[in-house]
Symmetry: C2
Subunit: 253 residues, 2 copies
């Protein structure tokens, strides 16, 4: 009997071309589909809630898939994890409504971006943070973040060449927190940026973070954010922060 | 003017054959010596406090070196970190007494071993933990650990083929702690074992951890520890835990 499943996934995106299948290298989607095909015995297609870019990580990516298989969900999760590479893990499998679609049913997403500041002291974090040598002023970053919250046209905060119908999105909150003081001198200080919203344009979180980091480092004025929103010109926003510090934390339904 | 320096290092040991120079691959020692040679302009030799094995990590390895160079220590640390690969970091450089030797002057060392239990849920920790599927009983592990503390002949807890004069060592403490409950379902539960002592035989910490894990999983009796100490036979202790969960945290002088 056909059933629709909701899969929650965590992955280290470092060694992948991104979520989506692409001709130029291994994708998370292709790995997951291969693991499912071994169980299902035929080609399957999964839909991901968010098309994370090359090098972007996930703590709670969501995918939907239709299977003709009556394995219980716990056994299915275990079987998938036995087949998947160590850097992709299935956190949870649950039965979903027949018409559940991970992408079109998503109401919102939560992303987290991890920045480490000061000298690059940790040899363990390099795959999962952006290293910024300057100290960052969280208070001014928060002022810039406040201007981004709400519904706006984020045309200036998307990768050039995007082809979406509208670039209007709503950001529900942006939290900027200094990391707790590290317990070891081999762990750096840093800042974490969490962004929650109803949807995100291509590179939107990374451009938001790149802009806020410039504000926090004193290289850009808080008001630049308002100007970029108004002009809609990519050049008026900051640089795109690197993929490796970004995590898709949660998808809301 | 010749000066002796004390360097504190952190490294991710995953991609190295260990601390010590070896013909079969890159070592941390060789990387550090190469970085120092660029600054010094001639061959240099560093001495490490502990010869960490292939795949073992460090948060606070200590090395000594004699240089003929008057760079201040902060600039020297920065210059080394600019040359060293990202997975080896110099945490601190200080001037030391002319006769300081990182190896022979060490009074003791602190190691930490990280175990993750249950399903393998995190794609981010795989290079730095040992994954054990069974739940572990910390209370019984602590009873086994108590039998190891103090001065004993640890002949049963060293790699076969060791060539040290004596296998008597003193363990000052072994702390076994359940990890705080993870904030994300993509982070596993686990147990951390910290072992502090005046010196360690080859693989000693890893065999201690392998033995305690068997006790915690209920596959070995607490009293087996006393029997292994008494017999001195490697076969009476548990298996050698894998290198990737082990960190040299601190060297005491």
């Amino acid at each position: 009997m056909l059933r629709t499943l909701k899969l929650t996934l965590a992955y280290d995106g470092t060694d992948y071309v991104g979520w989506q299948r692409q001709p130029n290298g291994p994708s998370v989607q292709a790995q997951l589909e291969q693991a499912l095909e071994r169980i299902e015995g035929r080609a399957v297609k999964v839909t991901g809630a968010g098309r994370t870019d090359a090098g972007v990580h996930a703590l709670g990516q969501v995918a939907s898939v239709t299977l003709d298989h009556d394995l219980d969900v716990t056994t299915l999760a275990r079987a998938l994890n036995a087949t998947l590479p160590d850097d992709i893990r299935v956190i949870e499998v649950v039965d979903a409504a027949a018409d559940f679609d991970a992408r079109s049913n998503a109401h919102g997403k939560l992303y987290r971006y991890c920045v480490v500041t000061g000298p690059r002291v940790s040899p363990f974090e390099r795959r999962h943070v952006w290293h910024v040598p300057q100290a960052l002023e969280c208070a001014t970053m928060r002022k810039g973040a406040a201007l981004l919250c709400g519904e706006h046209d984020f045309a200036a905060f998307q990768a050039v060449g995007g082809s979406v119908k509208t670039s209007v999105r709503r950001i529900d909150r942006i939290d900027i927190d200094a990391r707790p003081p590290p317990a070891s001198p081999a762990v750096g200080c840093g800042v974490t940026v969490e962004v929650e919203g109803n949807g995100f344009l291509r590179h939107m979180v990374r451009i938001i973070v790149g802009t806020l980091i410039e504000i926090g480092a004193g290289r850009r004025a808080v008001d630049d954010v308002a100007r970029a929103i108004e002009s809609g010109r990519r050049a008026d926003a900051g640089p795109t922060a690197p993929a490796r510090g970004l995590f898709l934390v949660q998808v809301r339904y």
